[in-house]
């Protein structure tokens, strides 16, 4: 009993250490900047109002949600289908193709930055949502990860579904996807967060401020100084809080699906 309480206390302490920067960010975001710089305590919602009103963070938030949402959905759909094909079908060149998909994991994203930029420039897709979304939708890691997971699902389930009259797409949609749901949701969350945090590509691909994502907008805050040579930290912290909240929310929503394994009872 005593031991358990000690463990719980230790876990709480470690958790607080990890959380402290986030908690400090939120704490600071509610202070007025005068109070922050003079060391007084004075609370306000003005920082949020300024971020959303004067600096257009509502727009950035919308852009981030749209871009990250679209990237997550499209790349999940693509990689689930690719994973199913690689896991279940043998076709000429299949191994080579899979090797190519895995090989993309070894290319640092910064190397493709300039080629991607030039390609999209030629296609006239810079400064557009398509330009933000398209380069991110093929994800070799997602395809690889999901393939491994699908290979772990007994093939007899596919075969049973084929015998029941399913087409390959039906097998994927009605059997594989529901069973692989924990893996697919985890991967979805991962893709969403990765795209949400993506900074370099949105910075390069977009010049017009209506298309800024939160990360780009946040970086701008450092440069648009209201005063001379001084940063409005509470404002930046309010914008940061706006940036991290949706991800936290997404995690809470998806989290309960992550742990559940549901293959039990399928085969003996």
């Amino acid at each position: 009993m005593k031991r358990e309480r000690l463990t719980a206390f230790a876990a709480l302490a470690v958790g607080l250490i990890f959380l402290s920067p986030v908690l400090y960010t939120i704490w600071m975001s509610f202070q007025t900047s005068d109070a922050y710089y003079t060391g007084r305590l004075e609370f306000t919602f003005d920082n949020y109002a300024t971020a959303l009103g004067q600096y257009d963070f509502g727009r950035y938030l919308l852009n981030s949600v749209l871009v990250s949402g679209a990237v997550t959905l499209v790349s999940l759909a693509l990689s689930v289908m690719a994973a199913f094909a690689f896991a279940r079908f043998t076709f000429p060149g299949g191994n080579l193709l899979f090797g190519a998909v895995v090989a993309t994991l070894m290319i640092p994203s910064h190397i493709s930055l300039i080629p991607n930029y030039l390609t999209l420039a030629k296609l006239g897709m810079l400064d557009s949502y398509a330009g933000l979304i398209l380069p991110a939708i093929s994800n070799g890691f997602a395809a690889f990860f999901l393939r491994q997971y699908i290979r772990g699902i007994p093939k007899a389930l596919d075969e049973a579904a084929y015998m029941d009259g399913a087409t390959p797409l039906k097998v994927l949609w009605r059997v594989i996807v529901p069973i692989a749901r924990p893996a697919i949701l985890s991967m979805g969350l991962f893709l969403f967060i990765t795209e949400w945090n993506s900074y370099i590509w949105p910075l390069v691909a977009v010049g017009e401020s209506e298309l800024y994502t939160l990360q780009v907008g946040l970086a701008r805050l450092y440069r648009i100084n209201p005063g001379e040579g001084f940063l409005d930290w509470p404002l930046i912290m309010a914008a940061s809080t706006l940036t991290l909240l949706p991800v936290l929310l997404g995690f809470v929503l998806v989290e309960r699906h992550l742990v559940r394994g549901i293959t039990m009872g399928a085969v003996k």
Partner: protein
């Protein structure tokens, strides 16, 4: 009801050995055929070829008189029950049973009714809303059967459906499968390595070994007139005894033949009996209910005798094994094929 014809089916895997060397079977509509053989004899591959889960390399498959080799599994009007059941883990029993109907576009109300009807037959009604993980092994087995039955397919394929069950359940399910066959009247092709299942279930048994069909006949025919020594030894428990004719005292002069003596055709005697007999020593005995299985070391090698337990009292160490060559099966020692009994044995 659908018949199935297989003509000269050959199958080999890429970079692997050939698993089927020209198998032909003519399965009549409504027939219960058991394909039996040791592991690796190609029986499961044969079943998967009929299902369409493997593609034919060579040969023809006809289902209901129509060539079917080119058809995808979903177009063959075949239901299959898998060894490990392969139930959809994310669906309830009801959904598992009705999934095939849904895929074939049956309206919701109708497929619900059908699923409930099937569940009632299989005594699954109380479990319709459970997921497979909340069922026992026997119940899962039944769901797998229900899934196949709901579709009223013309042909049922069963790939060792009972091998994951414990013995009591296996015997009970065996009876149920036989009753089910009578009720449905569908053609059933049943794969097993268990000779007891084969003998008790089949209208006709196909015995396979090493990718070759050894014999395709009724259980009686297979047991009483096996095509060769392999079939004779594979069916029957305990296994048949083989004795070379040259070693038997009363068949001197017969060369190149082997006598097959079923354990139940032999008798253990404490004293030398009237007729033909071999002297031997008891090595060990096994009780199996009504019978006592006696393993003996004799002048012609190890012999196994199945005796009515009631007729036996305490066995002395030295015993005599009485036999009747009229009941022996005769095989060519080199080829293993069954042959007519030699004249010398009949005269005895």
């Amino acid at each position: 009801m659908t018949g199935i014809a297989l003509r000269d089916i050959r199958k080999s895997y890429p970079n692997g050995p050939q698993v089927l060397h020209g198998v032909s079977l003519d399965i009549r509509p409504g027939e219960f055929v058991v394909v039996v053989g040791p592991s690796g004899c190609g029986k499961s591959t044969l079943l998967r070829l009929i299902a369409g889960l493997e593609t034919t390399a060579e040969g023809e498959i006809e289902i209901g008189g129509q060539p079917a080799g080119h058809l995808a599994p979903q177009d063959r009007d075949i239901a299959m029950i898998f060894q490990n059941y392969a139930l959809y883990p994310h669906m309830s029993v009801r959904e598992n049973i009705a999934f095939g109907l849904e895929l074939r576009g049956m309206p919701r109300a109708e497929r619900r009714a059908r699923a409930e009807e099937v569940a009632a037959i299989l005594q699954l009604s109380p479990y319709l809303d459970r997921k497979p993980k909340a069922l026992s092994g026997g119940q899962r087995q039944r769901v797998a059967m229900g899934r196949a039955m709901a579709r009223k397919a013309g042909v049922f394929l069963m790939d060792e459906p009972l091998s994951n069950l414990d013995n009591a359940l296996r015997v009970a399910m065996r009876t149920e499968i036989k009753e089910l066959h009578r009720r449905l009247g569908a053609t059933i092709i049943y794969v097993t390595h268990d000779q007891t299942e084969a003998l008790s279930l089949a209208d006709r048994i196909a015995v396979m070994k090493g990718g070759h069909l050894q014999q395709f006949a009724t259980p009686d025919e297979i047991y009483d007139r096996p095509a060769n020594m392999f079939v004779a030894s594979f069916l029957g428990q305990p296994g048949i005894n083989f004795v070379k004719a040259e070693q038997l005292p009363d068949t001197r002069g017969v060369v190149g033949l082997t006598a097959g003596l079923r354990p139940e055709a032999l008798m253990v005697h404490a004293d030398r009996p009237e007729g033909a007999s071999i002297e031997g020593k008891v090595i060990l005995t096994e009780m199996s209910g009504a019978e006592l299985i006696v393993h003996c070391e004799t002048t012609v090698g190890r012999l196994v005798v199945a005796s009515q337990r009631r007729t036996l009292t305490a066995l002395p160490e030295r015993i005599w094994i009485g036999y009747d060559l009229d009941e022996a099966l005769w095989f060519d020692t080199t080829s293993g094929h069954r042959v007519q009994p030699p004249a010398e044995s009949r005269s005895m």
